[in-house]
């Protein structure tokens, strides 16, 4: 389980990456699904997250399909970043 600070950081980056202008980090449940009903995101947003991983954490996904598991929730994303980050 990633630490609270990283979870907060990921929430902030997600909000910025996909322009969730009316949302604050505390409005997002770290365990809740990001896609589908959750935040109303779609596949282009998923691509923005891939970019975010690469640019901010130096993680290059070999297979974009991995994203499906990684981007399940803020918590899974933070966990993945913690384990794989190179910067």
């Amino acid at each position: 389980m990633a630490n609270e600070q990283l979870i907060l950081e990921v929430k902030e980056k997600v909000i910025k990456a996909v322009n969730l202008v009316d949302l604050n980090p505390e409005d997002i449940d770290a365990q809740a699904p990001i896609f589908g009903e959750g935040l109303g995101l779609d596949s282009i947003d998923a691509l923005e997250f891939i970019l975010l991983l690469e640019r901010d954490y130096g993680i290059k996904l070999k297979n974009p399909a991995e994203g499906k598991q990684i981007f399940k929730s803020i918590a899974t994303m933070a966990d993945y970043i913690e384990k794989n980050r190179t910067k």
Binding site: V21, D22, S43, I44, L47, E48, E54, F71
Partner: protein, 755 residues
Amino acid sequence: MIVKLADNIISPLGVGTRENYEAVKAGRSALRSYPATDLLPTGYFASLIDDSVLEPLYASLGLGQESGYTVFEKRCIACAAAAIREAGIDPSSDRAIFIISTTKANVELLDGHADVGSGEKASADAESKVSADSLPGCHHSVGAGCADRARPDALPDRRTPASAALQVSRYFGNPNTSLVVSNACISGLAAQIEAMRLLDAGTYDYAIVIGADVVGRFVISGFQSLKALSTEQCRPFDAARCGLNLGEAAACIVYASSRIFPFQDTSEEGHEPFSAGRDSGKLWTSCSGAVCNDANHISGPSRTGEGSYRALVKTLGLEYRPWQPGTETGQDSPASAQAPADLSSASASLASPASAQAPAPPAAASAETSANPAAQPLLDDIAFVNVHGTSTLYNDEMESFALTRAGLQNTPVNTLKGYFGHTLGAAGVLETILSMAAVEDGTVLGTRGFENNGVSNPLKISPSHGKIEDGRHSFVKLLSGFGGCNAAMLFRLESMSPASTSCVTAEGVERNTLKTSNLCKIDAAKCSIDFQENADNHAVALHANLSRLHSVEITVDGVVLDGNKLQTEGAGAALLENIYRRYVGDWPKFFKMDPLARLGFLASELLLKAEANEQRGEGNMLLPISGQGLASSPAAAGAQHDCRLRETDPRAVILFNSSGSLADDLNYQKGIDGPDHLGSPSLFVYTLPNIVTGEIAIRNKYYSETSFYCIPQPDEALMEKIVSQSIPSGQSAIAGWCECSGENDFYAKMFILVS
């Protein structure tokens, strides 16, 4: 009806239609692997033009290194020059119009590095780089014509598509405002459809349609960010397909209006037209085509092929049948609304694999197709359908639905992407020309890269060339693109007897007659006089008058709706957000849009609210969606939607500007010039200006035409002419000028127009 006079292709497979067709016939492809570079950290597979090979050709046309023309302009001019020569028309006539199909025109001017592709490209582009002035009001007088050809006129910002197109038409001394059709990947067909409208209406007698795009770092990195590129040779419709290959080409078709078709014998001038077929008494014609949006997602096609199917229905005169899924409801599965398929994509697997959530195939469709009896003779004449077939998971799947719904699952289908890659703005023109050559050759070209069926609705598709069934002389061309747009067009090889011939239309009526006996070697001006006298009713019908029902003007510091100044706060980007919060409030996607899409979207929303107010008899004062002037809840805002058009009412969205998506282009370029050389995928999608038309279609479920044109200035007469020719009598459009040169620098003047 339009008649093809001549055509030409420049591609990595050769120069000239004959050379390209023969290369394809021999099974050759120029697709190859390009290694990673500092600026493009990931390698890619593409088919790119080496301009150094074309230098002698360029030099012979006064387009040499010192000429100041960009790579894009050179390719357009060089390609068109040969086609115009073969057609034997005078390109400087005011009866001729240049229509340029491109998605990114001179985008390479933004790239200071420009090291992708040939080295020549970089230096030529750097030379012609221009500083960022404000957007142009161009003078487009003929100027010195041929004498001064060697140097492009000092047009304002060459980075704008409108300026790039003027460069091309001015080279040929053409006095008219050239049109840029910027409708993402369907541009090549949309441009030919626009040519048909302008010629049918008698606005012009000749149209020079040019399709081209330069594939450099901007475009490659963009498609990489979308995870849309295959790392190997693309495999359209194959079970193992995993993305597209980009390609470069320039292609040109010269069309004449059927009324003034000049039966010139070009042989005496020493030309030997390969594909025009004039010597054989056969001519390529078209009298039917359509553009339809699928109102689904800006980068993901409808799962049921809705827009492409509707374009086929309109083009072929089929009877429209709503999607009747076994277990689904609505036209698109709920799954696709939440996690839309990415048109492009390997990334589609992020959402869901095609096989898992695709709607059930229309299995019954084979038994009960949507053919209507009047359309049957026309269907029986179709030799093949040349589809878009990009080799992305979702595009090919979508097309299999559209074709099956249209009853074309037993008609041979092919795609040429395995030979040329996806040539973007050139694709529609290039693939049309080669399909014409194939029909003349009695051949259904094979789909290179295809082995095993990988779509839900198997099509009649083969990797090897086949023979066209005897007696078939037509083909259908399909394209689909970002912004949800789809296009279909029907072409027919007519036997031209000296007396007359006819074109069977979708309605099964004789729409036009070629009176070849009246045709002679006359100049374009004289032709136009003859034509005016003999104009038939059909042309007049297309020239219906437009009425303006509502108007909106948005400047950086305020809004005027139907003549009344709206209460707003702020200026620039803040103004747009204020308009959204005050008057719209229930479409959070607004915040994901780029400034151009925000501007066009808000203008359309205000127009629709004014229309709804009028329908409710509430006068023309638009009130904020809550007493406080800010959206209290989406539900409150949504209540105003009750008076919108019903989903079934056709309404087109046709917008214009000069700069295309230049503001976004600059932003995207900034990203790839950054330390990581990474571009934002969503921003890249918005570097197609027609996305704004898609946003409006999605919001309102408009399944009609969506089009985007670039012209130098907000010429209302020209815009209204184009719109009036685009919509049938009795139908309406949201249309007008929508220009954005930065987050805080924009101007829109849009209307609801009814024909």
